[in-house]
């Protein structure tokens, strides 16, 4: 067992342990580098592509370290000049934020009721909510299509906001319920003794305390709404109302054979950037939310 830079140890026992320790260190460092490479390489490749000129993109063998004259902003400029890309961004943000706020407003009271109020049939309701988190959206798509058509909601933000609210309610109920279960009951009891009714107690005492849990849930709900594809593909057909995932997936060239790799790469970068930022700032909350009952791929 030979490893780098071993301090001289007076006792043989300690030395043996140290050797084992540092060879483990080396392996671990390699493993960490592999994890980082695995997670980042595809995104970095797309990022690099988005800044390369068309000649550099289609160079064989590939250009990994482009010269300054092989770099360009043009693909980004094109996105915003030739496409209503700001519209796409706005649509995604508007639909995701609205549905997130709605699912918090609707799901949190339900979570409280399921955590505290000993409803008859609460176990059945909880079981159903758990199962529903497993349903792929394709199961809902035909029925929702009929509703959207019957209600004349095609090309209306509501056609996305309502389903997105619904798909995030189970998550909200599960995360918020486990949060309420952790809160000491005394708090609510003493509020009741002080003469608060349930509604006042909820809004004036509990709500301020739930803000961190609401943020956690909200981030997850926002991610799921921003990323949704099949409903957005089906219910919205007007170009200026499309959301990012659909609009980018449909970016095409002038002909079938001319695929605009550069703009597609740039669009991918712009569309994923908000989510990368969310992860960078809220990693802890995302992990916490995902593991505290909100489990979804």
């Amino acid at each position: 067992m030979t490893t780098v830079q071993q301090p001289v140890q007076p006792q043989p026992k300690a030395e043996a342990r140290e050797t084992h320790f540092s060879s483990k260190r080396v392996l671990l460092t390699i493993a960490v580098i592999l994890v980082v490479l695995f997670s980042l390489a595809p995104i970095l490749w797309q990022l690099l592509t988005s800044f390369k000129t068309n000649q550099a993109i289609s160079a064989v063998p590939n250009v990994y370290f482009p010269r300054p004259d092989q770099l360009t902003w043009q693909h980004y400029v094109e996105l915003f000049q030739r496409r209503p890309f700001l519209n796409y961004m706005f649509n995604s943000a508007f639909v995701a934020v609205t549905s997130t706020l709605l699912c918090l407003a609707i799901g949190t009271p339900a979570a409280y009721a399921l955590a505290r109020l000993r409803l008859k049939g609460e176990r059945i309701i909880l079981g159903l909510i758990l199962i529903v988190t497993l349903f792929p959206y394709i199961l809902l798509f035909l029925g929702l299509l009929e509703i959207v058509r019957a209600a004349g909601l095609a090309n209306n933000y509501l056609a996305l906001i309502i389903p997105y609210t619904a798909i995030n309610i189970p998550l909200t109920v599960l995360v918020m319920r486990s949060f309420f279960l952790q809160l000491p009951r005394d708090l609510e009891d003493s509020a009741k003794v002080d003469g608060y009714n349930t509604w006042q107690m909820l809004t004036q005492i509990l709500l301020p305390m739930t803000v961190p849990a609401l943020v956690t849930t909200g981030i997850l709900a926002f991610i799921f709404a921003w990323n949704e594809y099949i409903f957005a593909l089906t219910f919205i057909t007007r170009e200026t109302m499309k959301t990012i995932p659909v609009a980018v997936a449909q970016l095409g060239g002038a002909t079938l054979f001319e695929i605009p790799y550069g703009p597609i790469a740039a669009a991918t970068v712009v569309g994923t950037l908000p989510l990368v930022l969310l992860v960078l700032f809220f990693q802890r909350r995302i992990v916490q939310g995902l593991t505290s009952g909100a489990v979804k791929g």
Binding site: V36, L117, P136, P163
Partner: protein
């Protein structure tokens, strides 16, 4: 007195929960029940898009529909390959992230990025990576001298499936890793210390302590991954469109084109029903396994 308080509590409870149940009924219960009902009708271009009651005809037709069986086969290959790879890789990543390493927070943050990104965009990223002319996979293989001519990954039936599986594994392994990591962190360090004092190697500790104690998280992660892969749509639709020649057409893509392209609503509904029933069956089996695990863990304590 106590009775009225209890009654009032019940009433408040139902008022609080009613909006959520209403929305769930509209977006989940109605569409699924409606699919069951529609699946008993023939409603397509042949009937002038009017529903005509036809009993179980749609199901009989499905039984003889080679394209349906092909899609079930494709979905199964995709699902089982993806979730097995995700479990192995996710376990590896979770074990690494569980160690005390410098910059652990940053590494964890990086590791969950793939999970958070939109699948449709990831599909484009991977289609570009596997591009036959300018793709980086071919470029690396050529540089290493492993191939002489670029491989047409997405144009070959088997390789297109492999590419889609790779993309899905990349995207969702971090989800599995997060769940397993939470399980790892709840295992007491004392157990490992006692075990290694008894002379156990790290591999033995992994097999005899980590795996059994992690079983509930493993089953839950597998269950969620199964459900999501079984209904996979965006990744395949954007990356291969189900091609080449239907080689990657999964069930949800078939459902979608039955309804949106062929306007065959009754048949599409029957496909939805079958997908739903398969899913429920697997959930029931998984629930049984989890409750078994819980009771056997309870007996040991």
């Amino acid at each position: 007195m106590a009775d009225t308080i209890r009654a009032r509590e019940q009433r408040t409870g139902w008022i609080l929960i009613a909006p959520a149940l209403l929305v769930l009924a509209l977006v989940y219960a109605y569409p699924i029940l409606r699919s069951f009902w529609l699946s008993l009708f023939t409603q397509n271009l042949g009937t002038g898009l009017e529903p005509v009651f036809s009993g179980l005809d749609n199901y009989a037709r499905m039984f003889q529909d080679g394209r349906f069986w092909q899609s079930i086969f494709n979905t199964s290959v995709f699902t089982f390959s993806a979730i097995i790879l995700e479990l192995i890789l996710g376990m590896g990543i979770a074990l690494v992230l569980d160690q005390s390493i410098r910059g652990r927070g940053l590494v964890r943050t990086i590791a969950i990025i793939p999970w958070a990104l939109p699948t449709a965009l990831i599909a484009l990223t991977w289609a570009w990576i596997f591009n036959d002319q300018f793709g980086v996979v071919n470029d690396l293989l050529l540089r290493l001298g492993l191939i002489d001519v670029g491989i047409n990954w997405l144009g070959n039936p088997t390789l297109a499936m492999v590419s889609a599986i790779v993309a899905d594994v990349w995207k969702t392994t971090s989800f599995v890793a997060i769940l397993l990591l939470a399980g790892l962190q709840s295992i007491s360090q004392d157990l490992y210390e006692a075990h290694s004092i008894d002379g156990a190697t790290p591999w033995q500790s992994f097999r005899q302590i980590t795996l059994p104690l992690l079983m509930p998280q493993i089953v839950i992660a597998l269950l969620f991954r199964f459900a999501q892969s079984f209904g996979i749509f965006d990744l395949i639709q954007v990356m291969t469109g189900g091609g080449p020649g239907g080689a990657t057409e999964v069930v949800s893509l078939y459902v979608y084109s039955s309804i949106m392209r062929y306007l065959d609503f009754g048949y599409g509904a029957a496909l939805v029903v079958v997908t739903f029933l398969v899913l429920i069956l697997v959930v029931a089996i998984a629930a049984l396994v989890i409750s078994r695990l819980r009771t056997s863990a309870g007996e040991k304590l």
